[in-house]
């Protein structure tokens, strides 16, 4: 077995220690605020207090998180010589996760543009642009993406009648077409 395999088998996964630590610290901070964030009624039994279940959740998170953090810390210390590699791996993992931020922004852009452009236009734009970004740039794939977008809109909005409001741009259309577009697309 190679050294790298050895590290993978015994080590916590890259970034795991910091993730556990972050969760535990956040839970502890929230638990410390239980007095401010929940109401306490004098005559009620403890399990019926509004703060009881948040305390169970956060208390459990702090305890299990602390135990996991200690265990992950010992694993890292035991790895000794590979500590440098681990820090590099942690960093690489954080960069990987941060890269997902780009697609969060894509998603939120889609959310932002839909009430303006309408579901049909925004979906065609979103799918074609995202497909382009993902590397599908041929005319065939772009046409396929536009077709896919139309299919999704027709399936959900026209056929299943999901509640997505018409776009502000529909107000510019003639009245008959306006209501048709708002209902179906």
């Amino acid at each position: 077995m190679s050294r790298q395999d050895d590290v993978r088998k015994t080590a916590s996964r890259p970034g795991e220690f910091f993730f556990i630590l972050a969760l535990t610290v956040i839970a502890a901070i929230l638990l410390a605020q239980i007095g401010d964030q929940t109401k306490f009624y004098k005559r009620l039994k403890l399990p019926t207090q509004p703060g009881f279940w948040p305390a169970v959740g956060l208390g459990g998170m702090v305890l299990s998180g602390a135990a996991l953090a200690v265990s992950a810390w010992y694993k890292r210390r035991r790895e000794g010589a590979s500590g440098q590699d681990l820090q590099e791996q942690d960093l690489q993992e954080m960069v990987f996760i941060a890269r997902a931020g780009e697609f969060m922004l894509w998603f939120m852009f889609y959310v932002w543009i839909t009430p303006w452009a309408g579901y049909l236009a925004s979906t065609i734009l979103f799918v074609m642009c995202l497909a382009w970004r993902a590397g599908y740039r041929t005319t065939g794939m772009q046409a396929l993406s536009a077709g896919l977008a139309v299919f999704i809109v027709v399936l959900f909005k026209s056929f299943l009648s999901v509640k997505i409001p018409g776009g502000a741009v529909y107000d510019l259309l003639p009245p008959d077409l306006q209501s048709f577009m708002a209902i179906n697309f």
């Binding site: 993730f19 279940w53 959740g57 459990g60 969060m104 839909t114 993902a134 993406s145 896919l148 999901v162």
Partner: protein, 491 residues
């Protein structure tokens, strides 16, 4: 007889049959696309079903749930990549069979074993119904509280090697569910005076974030690939005969699926593990397991496909979902004011029987569809990874935005998507968060309802069913620590 006739009226309506057809074929297709899976599909479809009749919406979701595992076997066997997570064990024997040129036989065996498991579980469900109808009314608040607690305990103890992680995530789920107005006195909890937090964090938003958006992010970030599956040369119908040549393996594996499906919080993985171990121990050729053993393949597929109908048992009888998919379906019941639980069997038996018939029809439809269309489904397996990411991200929008047309919901879902991505990268389970949210909510309500009748702590467990449930909780915890102690001694 009247009940059966009313149930048939429900099922034989055009809307239900169309939902069944779309759900079952859609489920197979979704299952065959590696990286999507039924959880993502159900999460996306969930809000769309709110405008449908309860039986129509549920049939659509049941179709996806029950048929996705059939479809998941296709890439597992042909390209060694499970279509859904529960098809992972199918690769052990399915892919070696493909490598020796028996792809058609392996697929036929997998579909037939799945069909056997599905029908076995539905028959078990139908046979257990009278018993359920008799026992369910004895479940009061404290029994339901204890059953939900048992579910959470089992979620933690069954995640081997990840007990603390599961506990942490269950507790996280419990906490998330408490944000907003509490259910009895309507005081605010952890809203930080933000009006958008007053209505709490919606389960569907969390589910879509954790399952769908995280999967989309992962697919878009990963290296692109379009697998090339081998051609299927033989027919699909010989498998059923071969499955019936191993009746012990098929029945025992389906039995494991039923038992594990009924127990909240356990699910397909343990069912397959027990079924596979049993098949290997009783086989005349145990050395073939992992190298293309038909018995191994039958065990895995029969066990995993027996779980969905069985998982409906605790949900219908007690309103307690055993895993993430039934937790999502529970929201459809609640939206339509059909409250699963003891009263459902007494008040709406036709509805329950209609669901059973739908499940039965679903398995028949899927089996016929796969026997005819497997060769055409090969194209679906070849969809490039990153393009699936584009599709999932686009569809996730419908799921979240159509709930309340709220950009805040979308932002929360995106944040949970990022969290889900981290969990996937760490190989941490996502299901405990969902079960923590759902079962935590049930526990809070039921405990508060039962407290006025509880004077001493002992009163919580002084009724027969409560005592049995409490004993099971204690037993699960004791066995867990005993297993930990023994593994430490061995080391």
């Amino acid at each position: 007889m009247e009940t059966l006739s009313a149930a048939l009226d429900h099922v034989l309506s055009l809307q239900v049959l169309v939902a069944l057809l779309i759900g079952s074929i859609g489920g197979v297709i979704i299952g065959a696309i590696p990286g999507v899976g039924p959880a993502v599909a159900i999460a996306i479809l969930l809000p769309a079903t709110f405008s449908l009749e309860p039986i129509v919406g549920l049939t659509l979701l049941l179709g996806v749930y029950g048929s996705s595992m059939y479809g998941g076997a296709l890439p597992a066997i042909l390209i060694n990549t499970p279509g859904t997570a529960v098809n992972a064990m199918t690769t052990y024997d399915g892919y070696p069979m493909t490598k020796r040129g028996e792809a058609g036989r392996a697929l036929s065996l997998a579909y037939s074993a799945s069909f056997f498991g599905g029908i076995f579980a539905i028959l078990a469900l139908i046979l257990l119904s009278p018993a359920l109808a008799a026992v369910a009314p004895h479940f009061g608040s404290r029994e339901i509280f204890l059953a939900a607690l048992l579910g959470l305990v089992l979620v933690v103890v069954t995640h081997r090697g990840q007990h603390l992680v599961s506990l942490l995530l269950v507790c996280f789920g419990i906490f998330i569910n408490t944000v907003g107005l509490e259910p009895v006195r309507y005081s605010k909890r952890y809203t930080f005076d933000q009006s958008w937090l007053s209505s709490g964090v919606d389960l569907i938003v969390v589910v879509l974030g954790l399952f769908a958006l995280s999967q989309a992010f992962l697919l878009l970030l990963e290296r692109d690939g379009a697998p090339k599956p081998p051609a299927i040369k033989t027919g699909m119908l010989g498998g059923l005969r071969e499955v019936l040549r191993f009746p012990k393996v098929a029945s025992a594996s389906s039995g494991f699926g039923v038992i594990m499906g009924i127990i909240p919080g356990v699910g397909e993985f343990l069912a397959q593990f027990f079924a596979y171990s049993f098949a290997m121990k009783t086989s005349k050729k145990p050395e073939d397991f992992g190298r293309g053993s038909p018995e191994g393949l039958i065990a895995c597929e029969a066990a995993n496909n027996a779980v969905p109908p069985a998982a409906m048992i605790p949900m219908l009888a007690l309103g307690i979902p055993g895993e993430a998919l039934t937790a999502m379906m529970l929201t459809v019941f609640h939206v339509h004011n059909v409250i699963p639980g003891p009263a459902l069997f007494q008040d709406q038996p036709d509805f329950v029987i209609a669901l059973y018939i739908s499940l039965l029809l679903l398995n028949v439809m899927v089996f016929i569809f796969l026997a005819v269309a497997s060769k055409s489904l090969l194209r679906i397996v070849q969809i490039p990874t990153r393009y699936i990411g584009v599709m999932v991200l686009t569809l996730s929008f419908v799921g979240v935005y159509s709930l309340r047309n709220s950009a805040i919901d979308c932002l929360i879902a995106a944040a949970f998507g990022l969290l889900g991505l981290i969990l996937r990268r760490l190989e941490w389970p996502i299901v405990p968060i969902i079960l923590g949210m759902v079962l935590g909510g049930i526990m809070e309500t039921k405990l508060r309802t039962s407290l006025p009748r509880i004077k001493e702590p002992w009163d919580l467990v002084n009724r027969p069913i409560a005592a049995v449930l409490f004993s099971l909780i204690v037993l699960a915890v004791v066995l867990h620590f005993w297993a930990l102690y023994r593994s430490r001694i061995k080391r």
